[in-house]
């Protein structure tokens, strides 16, 4: 990306602020003073010497009685009831540790699954590297993140690919009332599971996976523009199901097994789940959500 910086010359203007694409919301940087105007300093700010400053890079937001900075970057910060996609990083006797992109690994206890798991038998159900959809259940002051796999739409993910995007972009991927995600599913025929933590699981044919990840790239790059759904729609229609002529797909972060079908089931019989590990997967009950 070309920078407008000419070496050898000092910047003339003090602030050099380019016009903001964020509407009336201002971009603030760590250490910048915020005119709090009687509002209390909220998340992303700090107060010292009677003045309020931003502590993170983000957008200034005044929500009386708070003034806060909504971060534009950074790791996923878990919120209760968020649905997230994680990968197993460690297996213990009674729980698994999941990487959900948060500052800490999240323990998934064996009682938080739809399976009948005996102590010490955890590895028969999930192994390191497996992908799961879970929900944030509890957040403790220590930073511990409790998750559960009991609930609709939660469970283990089989096959497919996980693409990572910034968690801040997830609302654009879903769209208003799910309009964007519906469009994507309808026009690609792929199965898509969106985690609030910025991880998107895509299942189906390799070509569908390719097209969805391309769409995700478009959304991430143009998130601040309006009319994104139309743009995605026209992209998907111009690159009809065969003969993709879009640009190269971004590299996939996690190519879990290439097996096409997936089992996303809370009501998964445990024996089958275990057996399915090494056997060729049964044909999927195809079709999107």
């Amino acid at each position: 990306m070309s920078r407008g910086h000419r070496p050898g010359h000092r910047t003339r203007g003090r602030e050099g602020s380019p016009s903001s694409p964020f509407g009336d919301r201002t971009l603030v940087l760590p250490g910048e003073e915020i005119r709090a105007q009687g509002l209390k300093p909220g998340p992303g700010t700090y107060r010292t010497g009677g003045k309020v400053y931003a502590s993170v890079l983000g957008l200034l937001s005044e929500r009386p009685p708070l003034v806060q900075v909504i971060p534009l970057s950074g790791r996923y910060i878990p919120k209760p009831a968020d649905t997230v996609i994680g990968t197993v990083t460690d297996v213990q006797g009674t729980f698994w540790l999941l990487d959900i992109g948060a500052p800490r690994w999240a323990p998934l206890h064996m009682t938080g699954t739809p399976w009948q798991v005996d102590v010490g038998e955890t590895e028969r159900f999930l192994r390191v590297g497996d992908a799961v959809v879970v929900q944030i259940e509890s957040l403790e002051a220590t930073g511990r993140i409790g998750v559960t796999m009991n609930g609709e739409g939660l469970g283990k993910l089989e096959g497919g690919t996980i693409v990572r995007i910034s968690p801040a972009r997830i609302p654009r991927v879903v769209g208003r009332n799910g309009s964007m995600i519906d469009t994507i599913r309808r026009l690609t025929g792929a199965e898509v599971v969106v985690g609030q933590n910025g991880r998107v699981w895509i299942g189906g044919t390799p070509e569908g996976i390719h097209r969805v990840s391309e769409v995700l790239r478009i959304i991430e790059e143009n998130a601040q523009h309006s009319g994104l759904t139309e743009r995605v729609e026209s992209y998907l229609q111009s690159t009809t199901s065969t003969g993709t002529r879009g640009p190269e797909a971004p590299p996939h972060e996690h190519a879990h097994r290439d097996a096409p079908p997936r089992v996303l089931g809370a009501a998964e019989p445990d024996e089958d789940a275990v057996d399915a590990e090494d056997e060729p997967p049964e044909p999927s009950e195809s079709g999107g959500h």
Binding site: M1, R10, L27, Y53, V56, G74
Partner: protein, 249 residues
């Protein structure tokens, strides 16, 4: 003035008061900062400062490795400064040495005083600084790059951390020494400033200065830091006003 033994010393200051590369005494070398240069890191920045080229990557807050370093009330900040074997004229012996350990330590401690580590207990914020090409002032360039990478990673902190070295060449206090000036000069004084409070969170010195020269040098350094601060803010604005946004992509 400023005679250094019998060695052949280049003329560091012309009669007109210009330096070896034509700069004035209070002038910085050109700086170019690119935020978000790496994809796999949570935050990153590439800094070209004169002939220095430095890459910084920040990971975290994330699980602490090794586990015993974990702190129950705050994040630990682990900084690793490294210079590539090809960064200097003569091949640098790769790997850890006393110099890089020292620099890692002082940079890490500088960031400990600005990062709100209490917000992420039992985690680690890992800062990696790789010097790809060196021409004096790499710890300052590394600090600037790491500071940009921390902001890019969304880490909460008091302020960005501009840094610069002030030195003494041909008996005069000069801003931002380049290699020849550092090698043949009389003193070198790197520092890092918290612009919001005016506090210095890193000061080291090599060589000799009088008390008077020292206060002059500190003043010049703070002024230089403020100039760099503006460039840092501009680079972050450029990055976040356009283009894709996101740590790990």
């Amino acid at each position: 003035m400023g005679s250094v033994g019998a060695k052949e010393v280049p003329v560091l200051l012309s009669p007109e008061g210009l330096r070896i590369d034509g700069r004035k005494l209070d002038e910085l070398r050109p700086i170019r900062i690119q935020v978000g240069a790496l994809h796999n890191a949570d935050g990153s920045a590439f800094v070209e400062w004169g002939a220095n080229k430095v890459m910084a990557a920040v990971y975290g807050p994330r699980e602490v490795h090794p586990r015993h370093l974990q702190q129950n009330n705050k994040a630990v900040i682990q900084c690793k400064y490294n210079m590539a074997a090809f960064a200097v004229d003569e091949r640098k012996r790769p790997g850890l040495d006393r110099r890089s350990q020292e620099i890692s330590k002082v940079i890490g401690e500088a960031f400990e005083s600005v990062v709100f580590a209490e917000e992420y207990p039992r985690t680690s914020i890992d800062i990696y600084i790789e010097v790809l090409q060196a021409n004096a002032g790499t710890r300052c360039a590394g600090l600037v790059a790491a500071s940009m990478a921390l902001a890019d990673a969304g880490i909460p902190m008091v302020d960005l951390l501009p840094a610069v070295a002030v030195g003494k060449i041909a008996g005069k206090i000069a801003l931002d020494l380049k290699k020849e000036e550092d090698n043949f000069g009389d003193a070198d004084l790197p520092m890092a400033l918290v612009p919001q409070s005016g506090r210095l969170v890193l000061i080291q010195m090599e060589g000799h200065m009088t008390e008077e020269e020292l206060s002059q040098a500190l003043e010049l350094g703070v002024q230089g830091c403020r100039e760099i601060y503006e460039k840092m803010k501009q680079a972050l604005r450029e990055r976040y006003a356009t283009g894709p946004i996101g740590g790990s992509a």
